[in-house]
């Protein structure tokens, strides 16, 4: 069972990502409603992949990515960004910080599914 952490402050967007993943076998989901929760969950849950939004209150997605990439415990786990096309610059920064993939809202569920298969098998 591979564990995926979803950091996204919009409950509906979160539930949409979850419903996209739920139909696939072999994935377990951990939800964080903001960057803080994600930071709390990371050391507790043995996470295999992180999907994060960029625009979140307090700790945003970029800050989360930077933290994960600089932490030897999770440094190399795959990181996906889900964001909107309007935050182009932020998206570029996220990729520069070490995010592996990005999806633009509204994203295509099958794209997320195939990316998950690619990174987690």
């Amino acid at each position: 069972m591979k564990k995926i952490l979803i950091a996204e402050d919009s409950p509906a967007m979160r539930s949409l990502v979850i419903s996209t993943i739920e139909v696939m076998d072999g994935y377990e989901i951990v939800e964080a409603a903001n960057g803080f929760e994600a930071l709390r969950l990371l050391p507790r849950e043995n996470v295999d992949l992180v999907i994060t939004d960029i625009n979140m209150p307090d700790i945003n997605g970029l800050e989360l990515i930077r933290y994960i990439r600089n932490n030897e415990n999770y440094g190399s786990i795959p990181l996906f960004i889900i964001s909107t096309e309007s935050s182009e610059k932020d998206l570029a920064k996220g990729l520069a910080l070490g995010a592996n993939e990005y999806l633009i809202k509204p994203f295509d569920p099958s794209q997320l599914q195939s990316l998950l298969k690619k990174y987690l098998g």
Binding site: D9, S10, A12, E37, L39, R40, E63, E72, K93
Partner: protein, 682 residues
Amino acid sequence: MSGAGDTIGKAVKDFLAEAEEIVDQLNNDLVNLGDCADTGDCNPDLLNSIFRGAHSLKGLAGIFGFGEIGELAHNMENLLDSLRLGKINLNPSIMNVLFDAMDLLGNLVRGAGDGHLDTSGIPAMVARINTCANTSRNNADDSPLASLGLSESVLNALTEYEEHRLIENVKKGKSIFSIIASFSLTTFDQELGDLTDVLKKEGEVISTLPSVGSGNSGGIDFEILFGSARSCDEIAAIIDRPGVTISQLGGASSVSMPVATAPVHFEEPQSEPVPVQQSAEAGMTAKSMSRMVRVDILKLDELMNIVGELVLSHSTINELVGKVRGSGYSTLAIELGKAAKGLQRKLNELQKGVMEIRMIPVGQLYEKMSRIVRKIAREQGKKIDLRLFGADTELDKLIIEDISDPMMHIIRNSIDHGIEPPTERVRLGKDEKGAIRLSSFQKGNHVVIEVEDDGRGIDIDRVKNKAIEKGLIQKGDILSEREALELIFLPGFSTSEKVTDVSGRGVGMDVVRNNIAAVSGMVDIETRPGLGSKVIITLPITLAIIKALIISVAGRTYAMPITSVLETILVESREILTVERREVIQLRDMTLPLVRLADIFELNDIAASPELFYVVVVGVAEKRLGIVVDDLIGQQDIVIKSIGETFKGFRGISGAADLGDQRTILVLDVGGIIAESTRGSI
């Protein structure tokens, strides 16, 4: 309806629930933004939060196939983005566009919810938004960011917005500080929250960058970029926490250590072996967010219905206990009786539990109302001081929903007709600001909500003249003040000389009263000329399961909510007097008007006027009435069910209930009967 698919799936419901929440929040924030737009000094967090709201809505709408809503939100988002990044400045005309766009957005979301999505207003609104976004564009700024000397690694993790906030702070002459603090992994959210709360009072927390703790125990460090007019030492004194490094970025950077001996990073002594209790407490704040569950009210209704049916099954079991006892199985009857008692206790708990889930604080209604007050006051050029009391009084969610519109109308009336324009108020020696007071409190099984203003009050003579003009009363009719005030609630009554945008929307106080009566509530008005009026709404706490008095009239059985029954008395027919063609009895020191249910429902009273009969004394708010019935059958818990649209207009009936023995009876709308009787139409 656009793209919502054939069935409204769970996802769309989720969308609607969240979209409504976002729209509510946006409305609130916009009103606050409007307030500070006047002063020119806007809270950047507020603007950013509005931007984020529009942004989320756009994303949601796009995903759930409401492309047009997404389009509007997208254009709003662009405008808000330019505002928050300082590319354009906020001014009253932009504020108006934002308000209008928000109204449209709210209507669209509601439309999407009830399947009446009207997207025709979107193109014009988008054009307005874009005109705003394209004019008054500020010159691009030469970035003073470089002078701060931020490390590449930090710069790379800043969003465009955060960069903009740094620049804005520097432009305003604020200093930028880097505050680095170490925390244990178990308690960081609480402690960091405390730290930022303290900082926010002294300046702006621009960015919070987490990094791997440099201490031995694998903690977590945070670098906070903070803009403030204070000095390094002052901030150190305010933070007052060991192990924090503060440095001023750029220019004459002075670095100071809050703890004389502290190295750059300092593990707090207590942070390693964290007491279990403390960590649990610290975990509360972050956890509580995900502890809330959003539930469709229909599911709670279903649950309540099941509980209701269980209550009925329980009564059946109780009857069986009696039968078993009657058939001679006394030991068995005792055992069964005990089991039934136990069941009842648990049922009561269950009932109470489900009821509590449905309860929400009146404060949620207040929030909506305060937005409306500010909006109307703005439109009318009146100044209103809204005071809220008893926000934590709880009411059934459905009741709160159903009285939102009537409340809104009452408040519109208060501002429109009650509160005088500022100049007139000053001339009258009143405070320039009109006061509206919303207060809620529980009174027995009812919740009372009062809307009180200190305006001009209701002119009784004008009300009477209007009523004569409208043919509602005859010239020369003698009415008491109370009776005259009752005229306001008659259909088609409006004292406003000109139809205004605010009150003149074709909704009169009769509709307000009907809407409130639909949830078994009563509405009353008190007024003092020149001093103001008070509208008093009395509501039952919940509609779901109620104790009822079961009565019979002319061979038919009815239920009356026990909450409105004050007492029952046995009366002899010779005690009835006739005053002004109405039957009354003398009850202690008051004269109690009577109504006969048999007359209201036009039943053929077989046992016409028996010598002895019962009078059920009912009262809601300050009104009293005696209802004449043939017999009292007993008390029982009932679940009131709607009798459907067809019978909605029937006076005196609020619903139907199942008695548990396959019999369905009607439930009397006591509030309605009292109102009709006061009006003299019974």
